[in-house]
Symmetry: C2
Subunit: 112 residues, 2 copies
DNA sequence: CCCATAGTTCGGAACTTCGGAACTAACGGA
DNA sequence: TCCGTTAGTTCCGAAGTTCCGAACTATGGG
């Protein structure tokens, strides 16, 4: 399989990041990959809350995140490992990802 | 004219904000409204860079920003005043708007 | 070599976005 | 009051995007 396309960090565009994370489902996937020590198989992510995401949808969500420059994907045997590019992106756009993930967290936990 | 719909700040959702600002044209409009002391007529915004935005598109961009909770619009005579809800949104999602506007600014001014 | 597992691609239905033409709202002048 | 002008909105068709099931490809194990 040919290596997957990943944009160089300097080609990463804010609109692509915002678009990728403007879907709560993709935001959740990205938050998981980022929190889970930066490694996770695609299918480990397929149940989000109580909703099962079809394989084809999951695959295209992952693709959107990858092409936005948010994650890095590589095959290991039969499965895929997804690494968060959080640190790189944070160096380019300081505070952006943290603010976005916090905003989603604030929404779902309307805390006390 | 019936008053325009504006979501209460606690109903503002991160996905709506990200979606609204994931369009560079809307992000530019929002940045202008926010920078310009929070007041500006619609048409004052219609030339973005070297591109003229058709009235109908501008109107729907403004509507998206308004319904996402990012701006507040009211008619004053024949024209519209658009106020940024930046401060309110920042209280709800700290740092989010600043990080997004900085990210766009970093893109267009790849400094030094 | 065949099977199982993990992920991708294809394609059509449903939804969104764009923008021109026609419409509505508010004001000013005669 | 009526007309003209300016400012925005609505409508609607074309173009583009998203969703997801079915079929496909890639990898490893027996």
């Amino acid at each position: 399989m040919r290596p997957l396309f990943h944009p160089a960090i300097e080609d990463v565009q804010p609109e692509a990041i915002l678009h990728a994370l403007s879907d709560p489902c993709r935001a959740t996937i990205f938050a998981r990959i980022t929190r889970a020590g930066c490694v996770e198989a695609c299918s480990a992510v397929s149940a989000l809350g109580d909703r099962v995401i079809p394989k084809s949808s999951l695959s295209s969500h992952i693709k959107v995140l990858r092409e936005a420059g948010l994650i890095r994907c590589e095959r290991h045997g039969v499965e895929m490992r997804n690494h968060s590019r959080c640190a790189e992106v944070d160096a380019r756009f300081p505070g952006l990802l943290a603010a976005i993930l916090n905003a989603y967290a604030a929404r779902s936990a309307p805390g006390a």
